[in-house]
């Protein structure tokens, strides 16, 4: 008799239903956790790519500045030599002209070299860094959304367990009451 009362269909049904719902919630939570972990991994990866791109942009800028400075210094050296040659009594006019031309050429090449080897790659790499930053931000949102879903599932599970617990308690009370009546 006790056995028959304790396995009342109401409690059993509720428990089985709760088990099913919680199983479903667990599966959903696992999926959300996988999504969240993937999003976090993507966030870190994109952030690393952003850092790499920013480093490369800084390298490009430095390279451009060095090449430009090399041309400028070479131009100044040519101009210096041309000045000395010009004021030298034994100086050669053609050599002076050649040095002056070289100085002028170097002076014109310096900004071009800076643009080609420094500024342009730097802009491209900075654009890449911005793109990776955007991707990282998106991954961050995805991770945040997945975390919210996990929290919701956990709260739902807790609520269901509360309901099942209440049902069990109600059934126990009913059982005791029936026993009292017998």
């Amino acid at each position: 008799m006790n056995s028959a009362i304790s396995t009342t269909s109401v409690s059993s049904f509720a428990t089985e239903l709760a088990e099913l719902v919680i199983q479903n919630e667990t599966t959903q939570s696992d999926a959300d956790r996988a999504t969240r972990d993937a999003a976090r991994a993507a966030y870190l990866e994109d952030a690393q790519h952003q850092v790499d791109a920013l480093h490369a942009a800084a390298d490009a800028m430095e390279t451009g500045a060095f090449i430009s400075a090399a041309f400028s210094i070479a131009g100044s050296a040519c101009s210096f030599s041309a000045t000395v040659e010009k004021f030298d009594v034994d100086g050669c006019a053609s050599k002076t002209a050649q040095l002056e031309n070289s100085s002028k050429l170097c002076g014109e090449l310096a900004p071009i070299a800076k643009t080609v080897t420094g500024d342009t790659p730097q802009k491209h790499l900075e654009a890449d860094a911005k793109r990776f930053e955007t991707l990282a931000e998106r991954a961050k949102w995805q991770a945040s959304d997945a975390s919210s879903e996990i929290d919701k599932a956990y709260q739902l599970g807790a609520k269901l367990l509360d309901i099942v617990q209440s049902l069990n308690q109600a059934q126990d009370s009913a059982t005791n009451a029936v026993i009292g009546r017998i």
Partner: protein, 264 residues
Amino acid sequence: MLNATTNVGAATPWQSVAPETNDAGSLSETCALLALMVKSQTSSQAASKTDVELDFKKLEELKQQLAEALQKAKEAADHHGFFGFLSSVFGSDVAQIAGAVAALAAVVATGGAAAPLILMAVSVALEEGAKVGAKLGLDPKICMAISLCSAAIGLCSGGGSAQAASTVTTVAKDVKLGANLVKDAALASGSALSAVAEHYHAAELRYQADATGYRAKDAATNWELDDAIALLQQALCTEQRETTTVSAIIRSNGDTNVGLSNRI
């Protein structure tokens, strides 16, 4: 339903706990199950606590690294500013002044004999100006100063002699040479200093990029920390609920047994 091996590993193992029997054997089984579940939650709590401690340490390290990167970026920015200023002084100001001096010297040098005559004319003009000023009631001190300037320029002009003209031309040529050389040297120095300034600017950008990376890692570690704290909280709640539920089951079983005994 009371299967300890399947329930212990679950997220909420007490969910399928229900009063099935009310004999002494099943009661001890329930207690054993409770012990298992509590043990499981305790290990879960310990693991979560370890995670929290590790994450805290990691966060501290990241914060330190971030602060260092920002400090280095600031220092690099200071160096960039300093060398940029020097580059501007040498490459722009000094070179421009030297260029202007060279141009002026070139004018004097190419002016040749005309230069002393120009100076003489200026000297005479100043002398006359001093006289006129005195007549018009100008301050005698100012008039005296103008006269002195006139005399000085007159001396420099050397009375317009050919020898003086030659000397001025030679000096002007030397000045022009020196000024041109200084200009070229200043431009070269300016370029070199500009390269050094750009090197520090690149270093500043690199440190800022590192700081970005540390911030990202910091965010990820914060998430892990939040997860660990949430897990710890869940483990504590679950343990409490398990204890409550099993206690209720035991009490209910006890009540049932007491009721039955009374009836018998």
